[in-house]
Assembly symmetry: D2
Homo-oligomer: 367 residues x 4
């Protein structure tokens, strides 16, 4: 069963554990003739790499990606692309006590309950290191999108950290702060707040928003391959994510029909909307507006404050997770969310091309 | 492409339009030897049926389900089960103007942009009538679960309507009010509030919570077949849903690591937890706690207040959606959410049985 | 698990038993905007229907197909098409002894061993009646192919019956004989031979050849979605099929490399080949030549000569299968093979469109 | 689209080209707790490796497999297993003329027509080197089968080469000759015949038979996931295969119902059959008899005799394929066929476990 795969047409299978020899992604269904090289992917992996600022774990991971197949003379061939990232930092350290103890908030206990096997080396398959493979695959998707949807832009950032919510959405701002937040004022609040969290050896959650601008109208599909269904699955599959919202999200519950309606006018290039409560998706199909997704990441479970837990033999213990951890893993989830968005949007463009093709609708449909 | 299907092992494909001859679900992968008859499914269809109280649309739909295949002498045979619900209320009415106009908030415009075809009869495939087929399939799942997970209970209800939030979680209360809310006090607030909405010809959104009690520890799978991933997709695929939460949900963003930690103790039958911020899922795998999902339903888009829109030829119009509509579609989404939960949980039990089987873990794993 | 489904993009799920209320096919992934009505499908169902000549079973089956969804105002909508054929001849006859006995050569015993459930009414799900649903789905595929590959022609016929092998391939001859054989001389031999078989209450096997002319070069995909892989699966899934060949088939084993080579010249419209040992497929991808598939159907297992078998309780019995059976089921397998070819070819055209699109190769590739 | 994947539960995706940096297989869905190391897999890779006798190409390929993920402390973990084989012999040689010419019988021309990209280095993705990855994955399947079906034995060999057909089936004989044929007399004929072919710079086709002994009754599934359907697809997906047979195969066409019937008696451990025309499968489900598959491999297309072809620009050329080629590629297809059989049988055992479980039938069903 391909439970480590996602995507219908652009099919990505990730593999690998945090402390094994390597991890990576097998990408099947990539169109041929697209210029791709490892350097293009490295750009995104570097965005996800830890240790760029004091707000991230100070671990060193080279995260260099190699392309082992599916690219020939600088172009995709249409055959599976194998992306491999070797794990350079696999020193055999003393896992003695950790190996016997379940860390609260981690998947240690559920993997053990499911498989009866525990890869105690830093989380094994459940480690967030797996998301490096997603980012590499997302890099491929971005290159394909350049050829199929030239005006498309995918951009994300932190819009909430702990109690601090970003209100502005200035997407040109994201490169100016270490949180990729589209709100310069929020960036300042985050920095001060997170400094406190970090010094208290605590951690905090976050909300990430990812926006796709320039998505053609008409992609997505009823009723279990909806664009929003696939986005919800994509984002919820990221480590530590506990909620996903499209457009108005959970707040839609508090609105009346009048307040929630996005009115429609005819613009020069197709329909234009008075607002975007829908988040760019109606009935699972894109409207041509910005596709807007948000997801909440829980606070890092590894903290220095002692927490009660049990061992494999059922004895009570206190767990303190030492080591270098991100005080807010949400920050490094930004490029991961962007990668998932790129994969899902590309997937649905390919699907539309295959299943509908030129038989498209009249008003601003997909080319 | 099976975009109208969901589930890995227990695979449900729904088909049909709101005003065609019939709609239904094809269920492939149901284990053999499970007692099933149409009456068992009818119970759940009746729960979803409109017109039970003044808070629902007064349309009449018989919603009688027939089993056309896969059941012999009262037992499932292991072959596909075809469930058909005939549409009794298909009178040919004058759709003249509606057929040319896009209703704001509906999928009329995106279907048109995607397919160039519009089934204007009440929403066609994008109609919430499709969820009747899900409820029928969920009824099958419930019968199978009785044999595979005898202690399991799946129950849901409205936990928010407009500004009113339910705080209690007394699941024995849900049969006592028309909102299946687990909070008797909230029920009173909902009733009064919705009466006002209804009389104002408006509509309002809602949050539904669905809980699965007695889910065995160890079901789910890394990393794209996570239990929470599949639940997020299942709920987001329901009409009008804009957000999905597991456990703490979006609120996890505001917590610190200390506040979010579910501490673990050893109980007589396996691990017990001090709290359930995780919503019963760690690393995509069930912990044995209650699995808790919430989803937000936007307000009914069909309202009597005029809204600006365009026609197929791009001309501006004002749209007023007459007819009998639910003032809060969230109410009738409760049995739909329960059905999706039943399908997903069963699916993962079958998956676990196939992929892990007896090679399971030591502490309270799946039998 | 969708084990009752086939196809990647054009996805067909069949359901139903020989003596249940109905059987049919759910077709997901059909492009929109294609003119379809039940009459178009009926043409192919009538070709498969029994009792047309003395060489077929004299059972009466109306085999009338209804379209329950996915077609609106005479056009496909892009949503699932539900095709239903009601079983009219379900009289409750005395199955008393049959229900307890396993008929040699039938799936009675293996279904019992697998499921512990036996639908003894004429084979249940394993009955060849299931192929009526395939033929209906194939009818849809043919209509779509008219729009996507206008010059395509799919035609099949009996090329071997018992010891008699057809040598000619005059495909305009097939409508002139009850075996749809492309060899008039063979038709005469078949008729005389089968008359003897029929009168001896025996049965005989057959080989069917199905040819697709005008398949564009470049469809198919490495390495497990090869065009020939999918054709082999499609044909082997038909009841009673024991072998599948592409082009030279099993005879390729006896050839040398020189004899087997199809030499290539450049013609006015692309490459032309000196021969077609390859059966129109190289490396799993179409060459533009005729795609040629053959499959062998075993003799009808239901014969009047007594055969030794056992009962459900393990006692020895002699089985004589009375009733009206086809002396050569291979004849009625012809439209089934054609339907499978239509589905597979369409599926791969849609796949190519989605995954490769305009990025195609230079010499006579798919448009 | 996962067109480079096969299997339902035990899901194998192969990747890589003949002259890229590496090739391999991603195995998803392997049960946990199974002892596996690279040495176990190497045994089967060595069986497929070229250059063992004068009857095979004298190319050197190290074919050393590394396990990059999914195995921890010598046991499978239940997460994806990445198997990588580095290509050691990738010297940059002068492909100048080959790169512009299409070799008859090869996929050069169809890949070009499909993708507009040609990896001219030894066949690229269409090279038979891809089968090394299958053999590695098959090695994993064999280890799992040891735990799930202890008595199972999978064995194959050449049963036809050119005009020479093997009649004996002494499976203990296969290790005694370089053709793994179960007929010692045939081995002598093959050797003499192939020596002539080799010296004439020609090539020849072959038929391979693969048998699975000890397959439990009751695995397989109607009607598109039949055991024989999946075996037909698995074998037809191997390079150069043109035909697949189950049991009696194409010869079933020449039989009468009386001759083809496998009569049933009750033995001490379940049903026993008087013969095995069915090849161990009825209605797509195993009977408990030997599962018998045969497939025909065409003669190696690369021969020294000149053959007419065209260049990418459409000019006529004569092609002579120099280099070290197998005179009968069928020989090295034996371990590949065995690997596919192992994967398919394991896949269906896992499927049965998941979908039917303990609800199995009464007479000798799957445990």
């Amino acid at each position: 069963m391909s439970l480590n795969s996602f995507g219908h047409m652009f099919r990505v299978t990730t593999w690998g554990e945090s402390h094994g020899p390597a991890l990576g992604a097998t990408v099947d269904g990539c169109p041929p003739g697209v210029p791709v090289d490892a350097g293009m992917l490295q750009h995104w992996l570097d965005k996800r790499k830890p240790g760029k600022t004091k707000f991230e774990t100070q671990r060193r991971e080279a995260d260099e990606v190699r392309i082992l197949s599916g690219v020939f003379e600088g172009q995709t061939t249409g055959t599976p692309i194998q992306l491999m990232i070797e794990n350079t930092d696999q020193r055999s350290k003393d896992y003695g006590t950790i190996a016997e103890t379940f860390r609260p908030g981690h998947a240690d206990i559920t993997y053990w309950q499911k498989y009866g096997i525990r890869d105690y080396r830093g989380g094994g398959r459940s480690s967030a290191r797996e998301t490096a493979a997603r980012v590499a695959a997302g890099g491929i998707a971005r290159e394909v999108l350049k050829t199929l949807a030239p005006g498309l832009r995918i951009i994300g950032g932190l819009v909430q950290m702990g109690p601090h919510v970003a209100h502005a959405r200035d997407w040109d701002e994201v490169e100016n702060n270490p949180f990729w937040t589209p709100d310069a004022a929020a960036a300042a609040h985050y920095a001060e707040y997170l400094d406190g969290i970090r010094k208290a050896h605590s951690s905090v959650g976050a909300v990430i928003e990812v926006v796709a601008q320039g998505v053609p109208a008409g992609i997505g599909a009823p009723v279990y391959g909806k664009l929003d269904t696939d986005l919800a699955a994509a984002m919820m599959s990221i480590n530590a994510v506990k909620g996903v919202e499209i457009g108005e999200g959970m707040a839609a519950a508090a609105l009346t029909g009048e307040a929630n309606a996005d009115e429609i006018d005819m613009g020069p290039d197709g329909p234009v909307y008075s607002s975007n409560h829908a988040g760019g998706i109606l009935g699972g199909i894109s409207t041509g507006q910005d596709v807007v997704v948000r997801f909440a990441v829980k606070p890092t479970s590894s903290i220095l404050t002692p927490r009660r837990s049990i061992t494999k033999s059922g004895e009570s213990v206190e767990v303190v997770t030492k080591g270098r951890h991100d005080p807010c893993v949400g920050i490094r989830a930004v490029p991961v969310g962007e990668a998932m968005m790129a994969c899902v949007v590309l997937d649905h463009i390919l699907l539309h091309r295959g299943q509908v093709g030129a038989n498209r609708g009249a008003i601003g449909g997909v080319v």
